[in-house]
Structure formats: structure tokens, C-alpha cells
């Protein structure tokens, strides 16, 4: 086993981690003061002015979001080393609709998932006897209840908003899978997929279980990989957030995405779907929207549309599903997001 090789590097990394944690706490604690000093003293911008507020938001939010993201990704990746897609698949195989959909939605939150593995995962589930509707619950929950988004919402807005996000996302994934299962749409899978499902099951490959140092290594790698990949999206999100924060008047936001207009939720979804960002990039926009008086339901709908309904994933899935099934999938999820938006605009 590779222990001889991974052990020293993991111990070295362990030392770094002990240094990194206090450093993280200090940076996070002084961030607000430093950002105000930079914007109002060093650059001499006037507080309460449009430009001053926008620039202060930029200086405050960039380190804050990056610091939070680093911590959240580390924890999430570490937890994910315990979740193996093969075991999830076995747990879901031959499940009845209902319980199966509920379990699939829950597993969807924690299973590591990237849209490029959507196809093998989808077929692998179906082959192992996971019903189509249950597979869809998983496929809806996995991107929509993004584990990094959940951690970021918790860190930035508290547990209530994080719980509302997870709860409504689970409800959408559960119901969407249940409906698609009832519609019996198996014949709308592409021909080669139906053939692959009929073929004899081949011997499965076995996978080694990682050791604890290896898990820590994986978590550090996850941070390097994800933070290294998403920072341009975060900067773009913060720029949009800073603009909203500094220049968009509250009355305008309230009239556009406020709770008293029937069109605010569909509008939020329409803006959100073509915006391809990732969970971390959309957080600063959510922060600025809520700060400017956008209703929670509209904001939630916007966020779910950005994260949960992405064009690239739909294109990848079109390799395995015929247009009718894709269309059903997108419409069921969109309707779910709209309902969530209206519900929270109505009760909060």
C-alpha cells in the first residue's frame, strides 16, 4: 500500500493545518476593519457614497467569501471521502418509490458529484436496479442542494436559511422523482442506454478504502482544486454584488424581486437559469440581493435556478435521454423552484 509514500506528506500537511487554522481565525476577525480602512482611509472614499459602499463591499466580501469557501470545502471534501457512490447505489437498489426517493434525495446532498460523471452514474444506478424515479430524485438533489452552497449559507446567513434551502431542495427532488417515476418514462431513454441496461452485469471493480492521512490529503487537494477553479466566478459574483450593494436603490429591488408582485419569482428563475455560475460564485449576489430588500422566496428561487438547472448538465444528459424526458425533467424542477419561491414570499 502507498502508506510509505503518503504518510510523510500527510504529517507535513498536518503541521500546516495547525498553523493554518489560527491564521484563518485572525484573518477572518480583522477582515471587516481592514476592508473599511482600505476603502475609506487609504482610498479616501466617502462612506455612504455609491462608490464608497461598492468598493467597501468588494474589499470586505472577497477575503470573507474566499476564507469561508476554503473552510467549507475542506470540511465537505473530508466528509465526502466517507461516501462512496457504489455504496449509495447499492443502498438505493430495488427501493420502492417513496422511501427510495427520500433516501436518494438525502444521498444526493453528500455524494461527490460533478456534471461530467452524471452519465456513468445515471446508467450505473439504473443497471443496479435503482428505479428511474429514484435515480431522478438523486439527479435533482445532487446539483441543486449543493453541499458547498449549504455550508456557505450556514456560515453567511445562519442555520435557518440553510435549513430552508436544504428542506425545500429535498422536497423538490423527492417530488420530481416521484412524478417522473409515475410517468413511466423508461422508453424515453436513448437506445444505447436501453441496450446497456439489458446487457449482463460484469464483474465490478474493487476500490481501496483511504486511510485517515489520505482523507486529509484529499480534503487539502479538494480545497486546492475547487478554490483554484471557482475564484473567477467568485470575483464575478462579488463584482455584481458590489454593484447591487452600491448603486441599486432599495425601492427598485423591492419592486423587482419583492414579495408583493406575482412576477418576481418567475423573473428570478428566468434570470437565474442562463447564468452559469457555481454555488460559491452566487453567494455574494445572494448576500447583496437580501441586503437590498429582495424577498427571501425570490432570492431562493434565483439561487436554485442558477445552481440546480444548468445548461451544461442538461446537454450532457441529452446523451442518455430523449428530448421528451429532458423536457419533463427541466419542467418539473422549474415548477418546483417556482412553488418554493411563491411559498416563502407568501409566509415570510
Amino acid at each position: 500500500m502507498p502508506d510509505g509514500l503518503t504518510q510523510p506528506s500527510a504529517f507535513r500537511r498536518g503541521g500546516w493545518l495547525l498553523l493554518a487554522l489560527p491564521l484563518w481565525v485572525v484573518l477572518y476577525a480583522v477582515n471587516h476593519a481592514v476592508s473599511e480602512w482600505l476603502a475609506f482611509r487609504l482610498l479616501g472614499l466617502a462612506p455612504k457614497s455609491h462608490l464608497g459602499e461598492a468598493v467597501a463591499f468588494l474589499f470586505y466580501d472577497t477575503p470573507k467569501v474566499l476564507l469561508l469557501l476554503t473552510l467549507v470545502v475542506f470540511i465537505v471534501t473530508f466528509i465526502q471521502t466517507f461516501v462512496n457512490p457504489g455504496r449509495v447505489r447499492d443502498a438505493l437498489s430495488k427501493r420502492r418509490p417513496g422511501l427510495g426517493n427520500a433516501l436518494a434525495s438525502l444521498f444526493g446532498i453528500v455524494t461527490p458529484f460533478c456534471s461530467c460523471s452524471a452519465v456513468p452514474l445515471f446508467i450505473g444506478f439504473l443497471r443496479a436496479g435503482v428505479p428511474l424515479g429514484v435515480t431522478f430524485s438523486f439527479l435533482v438533489a445532487a446539483p441543486m442542494i449543493n453541499e458547498v452552497a449549504l455550508g456557505m449559507l450556514f456560515a453567511m446567513f445562519g442555520w435557518k436559511i440553510a435549513a430552508i434551502y436544504a428542506g425545500t431542495g429535498l422536497a423538490i427532488a423527492f417530488t420530481a422523482g416521484l412524478i417522473i417515476g409515475q410517468l413511466k418514462m423508461e422508453r424515453y431513454l436513448e437506445g444505447w442506454v436501453q441496450d446497456a441496461l439489458k446487457g449482463p452485469a460484469m464483474g465490478e471493480l474493487e476500490e481501496a478504502t483511504p486511510t485517515l492521512p489520505a482523507r486529509i490529503d484529499l480534503a487539502v487537494q479538494g480545497v486546492q482544486e475547487i478554490v483554484g477553479k471557482v475564484w473567477p466566478y467568485i470575483l464575478a459574483g462579488i463584482a455584481v454584488g458590489a454593484f447591487i450593494h452600491g448603486y441599486v436603490p432599495e425601492s427598485f429591488m423591492a419592486s423587482l424581486l419583492g414579495k408583493n408582485h406575482w412576477y418576481s419569482v418567475p423573473l428570478a428563475v428566468l434570470i437565474g437559469v442562463p447564468l452559469y455560475s457555481n454555488a460559491a460564485g452566487v453567494m455574494p449576489i445572494v448576500e447583496a440581493l437580501l441586503g437590498k430588500g429582495a424577498a427571501l422566496g425570490s432570492t431562493l428561487a434565483f439561487m436554485m435556478a442558477v445552481i440546480g438547472l444548468s445548461l451544461p448538465e442538461t446537454i450532457i444528459l441529452s446523451k442518455v435521454m430523449r428530448p421528451r424526458l429532458i423536457a419533463t425533467f427541466v419542467s418539473v424542477v422549474s415548477i418546483g423552484i417556482l412553488l418554493v419561491g411563491y411559498l416563502f414570499n407568501a409566509i415570510l
Binding site: 500500500m1 502507498p2 510509505g4 509514500l5 503518503t6 457512490p85 457504489g86 447505489r89 461527490p112 458529484f113 460533478c114 461530467c116 460523471s117 452519465v119 456513468p120 452514474l121 446508467i123 450505473g124 444506478f125 443497471r127 444505447w192 441496450d195 446497456a196 446487457g199 460484469m202 464483474g203 465490478e204 471493480l205 474493487e206 476500490e207 481501496a208 484529499l218 487537494q221 482544486e225 446523451k319 442518455v320
Partner: protein, 77 residues
């Protein structure tokens, strides 16, 4: 040894293939690196998450990019 890299061709999968080739070259032994990008073939082998890597038919990594050193450690005799 037979080293198989499974992936549809995304950036991560290309990195994994590169690492596998580097490891094969560094180990000095006789190794064959094969890229499997056909979905049906992946599914038949039980790959659920890409990129994945198998050595002599045994799945070693799935859903992440393994480093050259990690692969090297597994193919060293």
C-alpha cells in the same frame, strides 16, 4: 501492468491520463496505459464517477484525480 483510465474527456480525465503515463514512464517497468472514454464500456466495468483509474482490472481511484506519485506507488514492484 495494465493501467486503465476512465473518463469522457473532461479536463480532470486528461490530467489523470497524463499522471498515469508519467507514472508508467517513471517506474521503468512494462506498462500499458489505456484510455476508456466510451460510456457504455465504463458502465459495463462498474465505473460510477469519473475520472477513474484501474490497475490490472482493479479499480483504485474513482471520482478524483490521482497524483503521479499515488499511481507510481501502486505499480512499483
Amino acid at each position: 501492468m495494465l493501467i486503465e483510465v476512465f473518463g469522457p474527456g473532461c479536463l480532470k480525465c486528461q490530467t489523470m491520463e497524463k499522471h498515469a503515463k508519467e507514472a508508467a514512464a517513471q517506474s521503468g517497468g512494462a506498462h500499458e496505459v489505456v484510455k476508456v472514454s466510451d460510456y457504455a464500456a465504463m458502465v459495463a466495468r462498474g465505473v460510477l464517477s469519473t475520472p477513474a483509474l484501474a490497475i490490472e482490472g482493479q479499480l483504485k481511484f474513482q471520482g478524483r484525480v490521482a497524483s503521479t506519485d499515488e499511481i507510481l506507488a501502486l505499480i512499483k514492484v
